[in-house]
Symmetry: C2
């Protein structure tokens, strides 16, 4: 019994170190440029097949990394939702959309990798489905999008759809770019994640409420 | 002499078919997932080392693809600049920023690959430098950014910088996503590239002119 618990704990630690090593290597060198063997080595696993044993394919590994982070942003988003109730201010809903990822990255410490990892996954023709599937299962995100829709002005369906896409693209790529600048020591427009999120919320309020040019 | 010209023409055709094959494979399968050997084969080259012979490394190949397209968008942008003169309307300058890529993609035909290719390059930690270097050498783009800056309201430098980043991200990723949807036969918010650009210009006008929340 004690032996079984010790084995389970050891497996948990191994999984954690593989996830951390994979996220870092993927962010810095690219998801496809890094082999499972390199991840196993960086995670300090003597056995080069450790990734396969614990996670399966590279897609499975990517999904496990995504899931580890979405669990935490989900909790942050639920807390913010409880605070704004049924607000009718577009800005409140955009804050619930944008702040949780920024807060999560801020809480992870000075150097993070998930922003760059996420941007690669969202841009890859195959891996992006994983991100989409995982975020579709987020009840908090659905509530945010419902709330936002309720207090937006009347917009043509196509404009609503494209502005939703734009908001998502900006969240993914602006945070990834900020993370990259921090890692490389190059300048970033804002000095912390909170202010970066504020800048993004300001811009998204303008984007969502912008007048629409009719297309014939 | 005639032999030398024939050889040069043959090399030009070979280069063209390699560039076209590489762009398509990179867009569909990912820049890092595709080998130079696969590109050579898809380009109908009996010699598997054709890519290396004609272009050098994968980074050189990526740069050649980028350059082939930026030459054409540069011409489209210069023509638009001549039309708007020294306009003081933010919208005119944003149109010069956003329309040339959309017009270029529209002119390439029903199925294109450069949008998805470009988004991957811009997100990759190493390859993005190629795109940045190539666009830095565009006089037309510099004139657009100068013109835009002249007619924007007074904004804090950090806000100006981050909104510039946002505009760039949206151009790259919204067009890539539209191209992907067309290739996969999934719905897109707009029925053509011109209207997609109009939607993006509307959104960017709102984004650039949005009120700024002061950060302490």
């Amino acid at each position: 019994m004690a032996g079984r618990i010790a084995r389970a704990e050891r497996a948990g630690t191994t999984r954690e170190s593989i996830l951390a090593a994979a996220e870092r290597l993927f962010a810095e060198h690219g998801v496809f440029a890094v082999s499972n063997r390199q991840v196993s080595e960086a995670a300090g696993q003597g056995n080069n097949a450790a990734v396969g044993y614990h996670f399966g394919t590279k897609a499975d590994l990517v999904r496990a990394i995504v899931r580890r982070h979405t669990e935490r942003t989900e909790r942050l988003r639920l807390r913010m939702l409880a605070e704004i109730g049924d607000s009718s201010d577009v800005r409140d809903w955009l804050a619930c959309l944008v702040r949780p990822s920024a807060e999560h990255l801020a809480a992870l410490g000075d150097l993070t990798w998930y922003g760059r990892f996420g941007a690669q996954v969202m841009t890859d023709p195959v891996l992006r489905e994983i991100m989409v599937e995982e975020s579709l299962t987020s009840p908090a995100l659905h509530r945010v999008l419902d709330g936002l829709n309720r207090c937006l002005p009347d917009l043509p369906a196509e404009v609503r759809a494209e502005r939703g896409d734009m908001a998502r693209q900006l969240m993914v790529h602006m945070y990834a770019e900020r993370e990259r600048a921090l890692a490389e020591g190059t300048p970033t427009p804002r000095s912390n994640w909170h202010d970066a999120a504020t800048g993004l919320i300001d811009a998204l309020v303008g984007l969502w409420l912008a007048p629409v040019t009719p297309c014939p």
